[in-house]
């Protein structure tokens, strides 16, 4: 029972980890928290659905197209909507991302209507039995994709020039500008990457859950919870936070009350921010003096 719960927790948590990671990518490179990110996830899932069901493209190419499309959308959002108000107050930046996400949701609803749509099954991987633990094909699929993605991501970050650039901009935007980094382009790229990673999460949840335009909102909060738990701005923290959140949800649902699954994330956010605002790996939160 315990092992089984942990396993489903990790599988669910892998998706949260991905969303938290995509939020962190944007936050670290631009110091903006993307409040519309849940809708990027939704849009990724939605696009895949449309391509597969309405147009009839196979799942893999469809998801690739969706991810690339979301990358471009992220770049466009950064250039067209965030760029012009960059220097302004935080309220404006937060609102811009919220309302963009909201618009995406509206578009999805116009097309979708009020129905809840199941995606046709994509992979028929037989479940694996290890003792009493059942590993479903979906869980296996999700965990392995996320694991591969994370390895690639962290390799790029730690061993390439792109990684160094990320570090430079994160440390000091002005400094990065001085050594010739095109900070604006870098910001646009980060928004694109963030949106694309969010879309990957969307692609992964599309086959295993019911799709509806509002699914982004709850994933946004889960992403925030994972980020908060791991420590704002920490990439590794976001991943670990996501996994822990997934597991914590399963435990609280099984051992305390099933209705608690929905609010584990909220409780976690409030508890962490009140008790240890820097999370597990974050820098200390300092109010500027």
């Amino acid at each position: 029972m315990f092992l089984q719960l942990t396993l489903s927790g990790v599988s669910q948590g892998a998706i949260y980890a991905l969303i938290a990671l995509s939020l962190t990518v944007v936050y670290r490179s631009t110091t903006i928290v993307s409040f519309g990110h849940g809708d990027f996830v939704m849009a990724g899932a939605f696009l895949t659905y449309v391509l597969v069901v309405a147009i009839g493209i196979a799942f893999l190419p469809a998801s690739l197209i969706a991810i690339v499309a979301m990358f471009l959308l992220g770049v466009a959002f950064s250039r067209g909507l965030i760029g012009p108000i960059r220097g302004g107050p935080h309220v404006g930046l937060a609102l811009m991302s919220i309302s963009f996400g909201f618009t995406l949701r509206g578009i999805a609803r116009t097309v979708w209507g009020r129905e809840v749509l199941p995606m046709p099954r994509v992979f028929d991987i037989d479940p694996i039995f290890i003792g009493s633990v059942v590993i479903t094909g979906d869980a296996l699929f999700i965990i392995s994709i996320v694991a591969v993605l994370l390895v690639v991501f962290f390799t790029v970050l730690h061993f390439t020039d792109i990684g160094k650039m990320v570090q430079a901009v994160y440390q000091s935007e002005r400094g990065a500008r001085l050594i010739g980094i095109d900070v604006e382009r870098f910001h646009n790229f980060s928004w694109g990457l963030g949106a694309a990673l969010g879309a990957v999460a969307g692609v992964l949840i599309a086959p295993i859950s019911l799709l509806h335009p509002d699914l982004g909102a709850s994933f946004l909060i889960k992403g925030f919870a994972a980020m908060t738990l791991g420590g704002f701005g920490s990439l590794a923290g976001a991943v670990l936070g996501g996994l822990l959140l997934g597991v914590a949800e399963q435990y609280s649902g099984a051992y305390i009350d099933t209705t608690l699954i929905d609010i584990t994330a909220y409780l976690l956010i409030i508890a962490v921010l009140l008790i240890r605002p820097r999370g597990l790996f974050g820098r200390k939160v300092v109010v500027k003096v």
Partner: protein, 322 residues
């Protein structure tokens, strides 16, 4: 533009023309527009309360829908479970909202600011919604909770016209109180905290107290708006206080102009009137509000109030300058 205090306060009296004109409104409308007019008054308070916290105090707190819901449920619970007449539930709703404001300010005082505050207050709002859904004994769960319009102090609250006059009085009182606050040393201190909290403390101003005051006043008026909403719709449901409500509030604050009382009224009136026409198609409402916020941010970041400010300095607002 030298404007002496005397003429300003005299000119401010023209504001009383607005409610006076509004008094005649019910004579001219049909039941449907009356219903919308009532909603405008409710949203005026919702927007004003939001504006105090995110505009004047400059805190990125997204707990406005939480205050709204807390007020609405406080009113409905007092009406259903305690059998109180609606009018008696109004102060209770205000106090409950103020308590919500106090909780949100506690997070801000813990040093949780900016995006952290936004996230924690969003979580607070969603937590409240979960609470409404899952404590059915108290809140009726997803079936909602009714508010009795029958028991009243001789007022025929079942009539939308009577509701309108009651709402108008409440709204005017609270708007006047907010104007008094914002024009006073407390209002200046609220803006001072936004501009430079450290320097504010160096003038002997207790900044924590100012933050708590702003949040609690915001919670109070939005809580009362919640009670009005409960009466207006007759039954409260958890879904009314979700993220959609939040973006509607955002749009109103922003279209009107952050930190401006006149702007809050304008934003609420304009955006309550318009979307009735777009609600027919699913999704259009979201696109409508989303696009409006984005366009305002890009083109007119100071909102409608900035247009008014060109006409007269009474409408001057103190927008962020950092």
């Amino acid at each position: 533009m030298q404007t002496s205090t005397g003429t300003l306060s005299k000119r401010r009296r023209i504001f009383w023309l607005v409610p006076l004109i509004a008094l005649a409104l019910p004579l001219l409308t049909n039941p449907y527009t009356q219903f919308i007019a009532n909603a405008m008054l409710i949203y005026t308070l919702v927007t004003l309360g939001f504006s105090v916290v995110i505009g004047n105090l400059g805190q990125l707190a997204f707990a406005n829908t939480a205050f709204f819901g807390i007020g609405a449920y406080a009113s409905a619970i007092a009406s259903t479970n305690l059998g109180l007449p609606w009018l008696a539930t109004v102060p209770l709703a205000g106090l409950a909202g103020a308590f919500g404001g106090f909780l949100a300010s506690a997070a801000a005082l813990r040093g949780i600011r900016l995006y952290y505050l936004a996230i924690v207050t969003m979580a607070f709002g969603e937590l409240m919604r979960w609470f409404y859904t899952h404590t059915g004994v108290l809140t009726g769960g997803t079936d909602g909770l009714p508010v009795s319009r029958e028991r009243d102090f001789g007022l025929a609250l079942t009539s939308d016209t009577v509701q309108f006059y009651v709402f108008l009085i409440i709204t005017c009182l609270l708007v006047a109180g907010t104007v008094n606050l914002l024009r006073s040393r407390i209002g200046r201190a609220i803006i001072a905290v936004r501009e430079n909290e450290i320097a504010t403390a160096s003038l002997g101003i207790p900044t924590s107290q100012i933050i708590v005051t702003a949040f609690m006043w915001s919670g109070f008026i939005v809580g009362i708006a919640g009670a009005m909403f409960a009466l207006h719709t007759g039954r409260v449901f958890p879904e009314s206080f979700g993220l959609t409500q939040l973006i509607v509030n955002f749009a109103m604050v922003l279209v009107g102009g952050l930190g401006s009382v006149a702007g809050a009224v304008l934003g609420a009136v304009a955006l309550t009137a318009l979307p009735e026409y777009v609600r027919a198609f699913p999704g259009m409402e979201e696109i409508f509000f989303g696009v409006i916020v984005m366009v305002v941010l890009l083109v007119m970041p100071k909102g409608l109030a900035s247009l008014l400010a060109r006409v007269s300095p009474i409408f001057q607002q103190r927008y962020h300058r950092d």
